[in-house]
Structures are given as structure tokens and as C-alpha cells.
Amino acid sequence: MAALTATRLVFDAAATLAIVFASVMVIHRHPVKSVLALVVSFFALSIAYVLLSAPLIAAVQVIVYAGAILVLFLFVLMLLNVPEEARHGSGRPIHRILSAAAILVFAVFLLSLLRSHGATASPAVGASAGGGADVAAAARLLFSEHLLSFEALSVLLLAALVGAFALARPETQR
């Protein structure tokens, strides 16, 4: 077992927070509360990202996920005025049983696999570079080697924008 450093402590705390609020998100039947729980979870995740020496991703995580995507969810929920989920719906029992079983099997496998891999993973070499250098280096990578993907992504976003606009437009204006 690895030593308990301060950084690890903070990371574990953040991860726990993320997991707890993710659970809240899944369990809570009110969609607005679910979204808010996910905001907290993602915020905790962004702290974890900082500790994994990815400050850029952490900032993007908050700006894009918490600041834009989840706000959008909140908006839609408020606009549609979605009610709380009914306690027992029309789902068939077989679906629930099968789901539970499949999830259980999958979870056991996934966690055991990750655990074994995490234990045997080769230890990292040296300390990570400073945060500032990382941002510039990541940006350089993004704009040189992955430039094509980056540009393709911008096209994708444009397509999504147009698509969302076309889909959400009221029928009468079409």
C-alpha cells in the first residue's frame, strides 16, 4: 500500500466526494437535484484533475461541463418543467432483474480488473512538470499533431449547433 501523502489525501477526498454526489445524482428522483448533484460531482472531479497535473483539463471541465453543459440541462428542465419521476413506473420486472444482474457482473469484473491493473501498473518516472509548462505543452500538442482532429471537432460543433437549432425550433416557424 502506498504512503498516505497530503496530495493523495486530497485526491481521495475529492474522488469520494465525486462518487457520493454521483450516487446522489442517480438516486435522487428530482431531475433538477440530479443535475445539481452532478455539478458538485464534476467540480470534485476537476479538483482531482488538478492533482493529476492536468490544470487545463480541470479548467475546461468546470467551464464546459459545469458552466455550459449542465446549465443547459438545468435550462431544459426548467423550461419543460419536468416532474419528479414516479416511484413505480411501467418498466417490466424482467428488465430490472436482468439489468441488476448484468450491472453486478460487469461491476465485479471491471473493478477487479482495474484493481489488479492498478496494483501492477509500472510506477511513474520522476515528478510531473510544472503546471504552466503543461498548459503550453498540451496546447502545442493540440495545435500541431492533433490539429486536424481539432479542426474536425470545430466542424462537428458547428454541425451540432445547426442541428440543435433545427431540432429545437418550434414547428410553426418551419
Partner: protein, 346 residues
């Protein structure tokens, strides 16, 4: 890190926050006196000389009032919302440098809360969180005016954040760094010996877009649609009273100060003065005062504009944001890119 280091960091982070909380009554007083001045009436002049103690009296009033939570509200969110608003406003100040590095007892201490490498991104991240305070307040109040105000605010802040971020991207591009101390550093000195190397000169369009967008971000007139009292009673804070209302009220002024400070940092050289090279403790004081003075100026412009311009209609607001500010900000970005490629900047 030794205990001294921890202490110094704590002071560095807390000092600006405390300073803001302490001077907060000044813009509040200024707003009301300024309104009086602009509207050709005295303004508050009963409590203390020139009504100087009016904010204090207001504060007492807020504390004494009944703290009401209306029925059928979502209590948890209703209570948390003003906290989010104030918290996200206050923490933004942590990365804005307010003076040059000061040497105390052999230690060089930069006068900035936290000199993080992603300073500007951190600011935008927190700004984007501030929308939750207002949206949640609007939603949890269970009141149609509040809900409309909250939704308006959310849409407005997200829309204007695009223009604001794009305008700031020009500065980032010129500085080549997200770090706000670097942004200030690139703006020291002069061109041709008499033009300060402030970003506002090569990037005037960027500054204009950014500053207009901050008005929308802080929900101030002429973009105060979320609380438009003539149509929405009080908007998202219709149901709030007493201390919770005071938190919203304070958040607005803190946001104003932060927006002004950020404008100064990004476009007006931050704490630096064009012909002045700070030395020793005196230099630090002069620089900090310069920063304070510049920020105060923009705070005053906020007040000035509020009492001068009428409110926009919501569709006009959206049209301005998407069809005018955003393209202009992009244009500015192209222009800066051109300058950088031509090596005329920084």
C-alpha cells in the same frame, strides 16, 4: 512548506477578499450619491456627513429584518443560492494581481492571491459557476417572476460569456500565457516612449466588447433584464429578504469590482504605471494604489452607465451579444493573431 509559507499564502489570499468586503460600502454609497448627482437630486444625506453612514444603516436594517422563506419553496436550494452567488464572486479575486512582488525578510512575495498558470481560465470557470446562484434562486423560489429572471440571467450570462472569453482570448494570445501576472508584465513600459503598452491600444475592439460584456455578466443596467423591476418585480430575488437579499446585493457589487479589476488587469496594465518603475515598499504602495485607482474609475463608469442608459429589450440584448459583440470579438482575435504573427506584439 513551512508554517511561515502557509501564513504568507493565507494572507495573500485573504487580504484582497477582506479588503473588498471592507470597501464594499463605498461603491454602495457611491452608487446612491452618484445616482443623486446624475438625476439632479441630493441622494442619501441624513445618516452621517454626506450620508456616508447610509450603507451601515442599510446593513443594520438587513440584519434586523425578518428572514422569510416562503412556503412551497425548495428550502435547501433557496438557502444555498445566495451563498453560491457571493462565494463565486469573492473567490474570483484570488488570481488577480494587485501589486508587484514585495521582498520581506529575504522572501519575494508576489502580490497576488494565487499565481496559478491557468489564471484567466480559473476566472472564467468561476464566472460560469456564478450563474448557478441566480438560476437556482430563481427556480427554488417557486415564483414565475423569479423563474423568468433566473432563466433570463442564465441565457444572458452564457451568451455574453462567449463574447467576453473571445475578447479576453486576444489578450491571452498577445501575452502567450493564461497567467495574469504575465499579462500585467507584458503591459509594462511604453511604445515610442509615450504610449503605455496597455492592451487597450492595440486591442481597442477587444476592450470594448469585454467591457460591454461585463455589464451583462454582472446583470447591471443596461442589461439588468434578470431583475428588471418594472416587469419582473425583482426578478430572481423577488422572494428574498433580509440577510439573504443582502448577500445578493453584496454579490452584485463584488462582481462589479471584480469585473473592473479584471478589465484593468487585462487591458489597462493592472497595477503598472507607464512611466514608473516600482522600487521597494514605496513602489509597492504606489502600484497598489494605481491598481485601486484604475479599478475605482471603472466602478464609477458602471454606476455612471447605470443611471444614464435605459434598459435593453431581451431580444435586443441577445442580438447585440450574438450578432454584434461576438463577431467583433472574433475580428479582434484575428487582428491580434495578425499582429502576433507579424511579431508586432507583444
Amino acid at each position: 512548506m513551512t508554517a511561515t509559507d502557509w501564513l504568507i499564502t493565507a494572507v495573500r489570499v485573504l487580504a484582497p477578499v477582506l479588503a473588498i468586503m471592507l470597501i464594499l460600502p463605498i461603491p454602495m454609497w457611491l452608487e446612491r450619491r452618484g445616482a443623486g448627482l446624475i438625476q439632479d437630486r441630493p441622494g442619501p444625506n441624513r445618516v452621517g456627513p454626506f450620508g456616508l453612514l447610509q450603507p451601515l444603516a442599510d446593513a443594520v436594517k438587513f440584519f434586523m429584518k425578518e428572514d422569510l422563506i416562503p412556503a412551497n419553496t425548495d428550502r435547501l436550494l433557496f438557502v444555498i443560492a445566495p451563498g453560491i452567488a457571493l462565494f463565486s464572486a469573492l473567490t474570483t479575486f484570488a488570481v488577480i494581481p494587485y501589486g508587484p512582488a514585495v521582498t520581506v525578510g529575504g522572501r519575494e512575495i508576489p502580490l497576488v492571491g494565487a499565481d496559478v498558470s491557468i489564471g484567466i481560465l480559473y476566472l472564467f470557470a468561476l464566472t460560469s459557476l456564478s450563474v448557478y446562484g441566480i438560476v437556482l434562486a430563481g427556480w427554488s423560489s417557486n415564483n414565475k417572476f423569479s423563474l423568468i429572471g433566473g432563466i433570463r440571467s442564465g441565457a444572458q450570462i452564457i451568451s455574453y460569456e462567449l463574447a467576453m472569453t473571445t475578447a479576453a482570448a486576444g489578450v491571452i494570445l498577445a501575452a502567450g500565457s493564461f497567467r495574469l501576472t504575465d499579462v500585467v508584465a507584458m503591459q509594462t513600459g511604453t511604445w515610442l516612449g509615450f504610449i503605455p503598452r496597455w492592451n487597450v491600444f492595440p486591442q481597442f475592439l477587444g476592450f470594448a466588447v469585454f467591457y460591454v460584456a461585463t455589464f451583462a455578466e454582472t446583470n447591471r443596467l443596461p442589461f439588468d433584464l434578470p431583475e428588471a423591476e418594472a416587469e419582473l418585480v425583482g426578478g430572481y430575488h423577488t422572494e428574498y429578504s433580509a440577510f439573504k437579499f443582502a448577500m445578493f446585493f453584496m454579490a452584485e457589487y463584488v462582481n462589479m469590482i471584480v469585473a473592473s479589476a479584471l478589465t484593468v488587469t487585462l487591458f489597462f496594465g493592472g497595477w503598472s504605471l507607464p512611466w514608473y518603475e516600482p522600487h521597494g515598499i514605496g513602489g509597492v504602495i504606489v502600484s497598489a494604489l494605481a491598481f485601486f485607482a484604475k479599478t475605482a474609475f471603472f466602478v464609477w463608469v458602471f454606476i455612471w452607465v447605470r443611471w444614464t442608459l435605459p434598459r435593453f429589450r431581451y431580444d435586443q440584448l441577445m442580438r447585440l451579444g450574438w450578432k454584434a459583440l461576438l463577431p467583433v470579438a472574433l475580428l479582434n482575435l484575428l487582428w491580434v493573431a495578425f499582429l502576433v504573427v507579424k511579431r508586432w506584439l507583444p
